[in-house]
């Protein structure tokens, strides 16, 4: 499996109107840890996640170091121009994160499936940010991982906004899986979505 290389240019998702949404790798920096808190400390965002909301920035710093940096594919979602480094190089702001996790290999070592998850700060909801980020992430991983045949995502049955993100990003709704995942101690019904390699528009890579 190939990893995104450090120093790749930010991946831009083109939209006819609206601010540009780009994806970039996280850094082990105070700025990124603080940006992380804008969604990670929000109980409303954390509602549909396994993880509880963070309470102090040290947790975000540790999470970036222990989980984000070693992750096979984890990106900051940036809105605006520039690289979102917050040090005068542009107006881009980190507003969320998106990650793609390959499923465990089959007994014969074969990989073919991965799952995508995303979180966006509440102030940025309702503007198509997550949709554009998911589209960009799907383009990136299908290009970077030639073995990838199925990209899947689940959304809580009580999270229609997230279901719409996936539909608008071109995923196919497959069905409701009952008591599929334990969130915050309770088994939840989840809607399963997928994008398979044959769904993708010819020439859309």
């Amino acid at each position: 499996m190939e990893l995104q290389q450090q120093g790749d240019p930010p991946r831009a998702a083109a939209e006819p109107t609206g601010e540009v949404v780009t994806l970039r790798e996280f850094m082990a920096s105070d700025a990124d840890a603080e940006a992380f808190m804008s969604w990670a400390s929000d109980p409303l965002v954390a509602l549909f996640q396994r993880r509880d909301a963070f309470e102090h920035v040290g947790q975000a710093r540790r999470y970036i170091f222990d989980h984000v940096l070693p992750h096979p594919w984890y990106r900051a979602i940036c809105v605006g121009s520039g690289s979102g480094s917050g040090s005068g190089s542009g107006a881009a702001v980190v507003v969320g994160s998106i990650s793609v996790k390959p499923a465990p290999a089959e007994a014969d070592g074969r990989l073919f499936m991965a799952s995508v998850g995303y979180r966006v700060a509440r102030a940025q909801w309702g503007r198509g940010v997550a949709t554009r980020a998911v589209r960009a992430a799907a383009e990136d991983v299908f290009a970077a991982w030639p073995w990838l045949r199925r990209l899947e995502a689940v959304a809580d049955v009580e999270n229609p906004a997230s279901q719409r993100v996936l539909e608008k990003a071109g995923f196919v709704r497959e069905g409701v899986l009952r008591k599929y995942i334990v969130l915050k101690g309770r088994p939840r019904d989840m809607v399963m979505f997928s994008l398979v390699d044959t769904d993708r528009v010819a020439g859309g890579r």
Partner: protein, 160 residues
């Protein structure tokens, strides 16, 4: 067990290949079956006039996943006993017992090849709900297959 585990027809829809050696099957029993949290032989009761003693004609297993509430079911029946409702009966007995046996499990799910009509019927007759077709979901015998996912929830009604 060799009766069904070595049969390419009975194992056509399995993600594992038919066993060709008794030693390999014994290793499977030792390494996977005996330590497994829920693995059962499916037996037919001895009929009238037969020597008592139950002979396994298949196997059913329920394997917990990384998610505490969810376990995956697999069932196989020797070909000589197909078409007699053996799988359906095994499934009914499984869902009646497994939620009490496996702590925290509230969902038992089964993945079935879209072309495996007999297994789909057995699950439906045992009260499983068909939830979705998961596309490009499993590699079976070298081919990527769409799978139908069925589930039985701890609160679902048990069918007689």
């Amino acid at each position: 067990m060799m009766a069904w585990a070595s049969d390419p027809v009975a194992t056509a829809f399995m993600t594992w290949d038919a066993y060709t050696s008794r030693d390999a099957l014994l290793a499977f029993i030792r390494d996977t079956v005996l330590p497994h949290p829920w693995f059962r032989a499916v037996c037919l009761a001895a009929g009238a006039g037969e020597v008592s003693g139950e002979v396994p004609v298949g196997a059913v297993s329920v394997t917990p996943t990384d998610d505490r509430c969810r376990a995956e079911l697999g069932v196989v029946v020797a070909r000589a006993h197909w078409g007699k409702g053996v799988a359906t009966a095994a499934l009914k007995r499984t869902v009646a017992a497994v939620f009490a046996d496996l702590d925290g499990v509230e969902r038992v799910e089964a993945l079935v090849d879209v072309d495996n009509a007999a297994s789909r019927r057995a699950l439906e007759k045992a009260g499983f709900q068909r939830e979705a077709v998961l596309r490009s979901y499993c590699v079976v015998k070298g081919r990527l297959r769409d799978m139908v996912i069925y589930s039985f929830i701890s609160s679902d009604p048990l069918l007689d």
